[in-house]
Symmetry: C2
Subunit: 281 residues, 2 copies
């Protein structure tokens, strides 16, 4: 792996460049982004140069697409037939079924491997990029065809993911989308629905005036960018709807238990899992 | 106001003592707590001495009950008929209807004024107390009988709340309980239900493995102590059930819109309110 190209040098793409460098990658790292972003990414040391997508395709041994889902799909369409022989394309898209389907169609099962680093922070852009962003965090890797599930895909990529500190999890695109529907997309829907509902109430000023720190954490995700979520909802809506229905039933149970008995067991079980979520971080 | 007594010198009670001192209160501050807590609170400078509840009642001009709701109710029962003439009792209990009812019954409408500082942090105990805990945060004050709503209750207490930086909001116990059911208790139920549900699933290990930072913020509240919430649920269960039913309908609407149209407006409205919650902090 001599040349890595990063398409979309924002928080994730920029951090990937910085992380590779910090982990000892000695090859060339090029970036595909708008001129202003390329300049900032070069200043930060995340990439060595800015190139066009065509140049990246001709030069790179690994192409990392860290863009919103809809742009990844567009980029994959453009890359079909343009890659250097033996090159691998991977991505950081938030959903995997549609991207993997498109990747295999455009690049073949050996040319594309889905990926999703479960890392991020509130500030975006290459300015916020950091070499340690992926350390200790899961990085889901989704081989796109069933026969590739058994063997470790792309040992060289997996080695670099390990070197930058990510905890690699290999799974199918379907499993990925089902899990993140519950671990990430449902929490987003709850946060957004809570904030939208409270903000639309007549007594919203009073509720704001009475808000403690708890409301702050439960509405943090509601600030997420619609541009990102439009793509996620469009490509994982079926599993998200399933998760919403399941949670709905669970909330019914909480409401019933509140009326008829004690929520002590519910609280203890919730506290146990919440502690595990935080320990896993 | 020469002597202030704080019953329950934990995070809130200890911070109140530190805040009064930092704001220039020159009188005596005594604490009612277990011997170990009293010692730590004296070391921190939050109180001058430890006393029994009877001694506090005989000596204090202001008694601040910063205990769990059920203990506040017990303390109010014990204080009936024991106060120094002209003394005022106030509290920091998480719900207000039941406490105000009990306070007026035991101490008369002039002897008790409900209160609820909307401040806190993840660590508890007097070790975590800080003089600045209440600065910029709402402190809800609930006169317990309707005729006291018009005039400013207890100008001296309100002056000290202002001096320690709290944003005083005067409202009825009913309004308080209705607002916090939505701003605080419903968010807690969502966090607990989410964590309990995910933790009970067969694929919980996979979900943990795929968890991003979003799940961390949405399950933070689920770690709250059952001892606190048992009392809140017991004294505000009716309004919490009402809030759960309302949110349930709202979640139905989100699910429907996800299936049939675009959640763009929902996301933007949610982001706007979430920004206001954070600005209000």
């Amino acid at each position: 792996m001599n040349t890595v190209a990063i398409a979309g040098v924002g928080l994730i793409g920029g951090s990937f460049g910085l992380a590779l460098r910090a982990a000892g990658f000695g090859g060339r790292i090029v970036g595909v982004s708008r001129p202003g972003t390329v300049r900032k990414a070069m200043d930060r040391g995340a990439i060595d140069a800015g190139v066009s997508l065509e140049e990246a395709a001709a030069e790179a041994d690994l192409l990392f697409l860290s863009q919103p889902v809809s742009i990844i799909l567009e980029t994959l369409e453009k890359l079909g037939g343009k890659l250097k022989p033996g090159a691998l394309v991977t991505d950081a898209g938030s959903t995997k079924r549609r991207i993997c389907e498109c990747g295999v169609k455009q690049l073949g099962a050996g040319g594309f491997l889905g990926g999703h680093p479960m890392a991020g922070k509130e500030t975006t852009g290459v300015e916020a990029a950091e070499a340690e962003l992926f350390r200790g965090r899961p990085w889901l890797v989704t081989p796109c065809v069933a026969e590739n599930m058994g063997s470790a895909p792309s040992p060289e990529l997996l080695m670099w993911l390990k070197r930058i500190g990510a905890r690699t999890v290999i799974c199918t695109p379907e499993d990925h989308d089902r899990w993140v529907a519950r671990s990430s997309h449902l929490p987003q829907m709850l946060s957004t629905t809570l904030a939208e509902w409270l903000g639309g109430r007549e007594d919203r000023e009073a509720i704001l005036g009475a808000a403690g720190p708890g409301l702050g954490s439960m509405t943090r995700l509601a600030q997420s960018s619609w541009e990102i979520w439009r793509d996620i909802l469009a490509t994982n809506g079926d599993y998200i709807a399933e998760a919403l229905r399941e949670f709905h039933a669970e909330l019914d149970q909480t409401t019933g238990t509140l009326a008829s008995g004690s929520l002590e067991a519910t609280f203890h079980a919730g506290a146990d899992f919440a502690a595990r979520v935080r320990k896993g971080k």
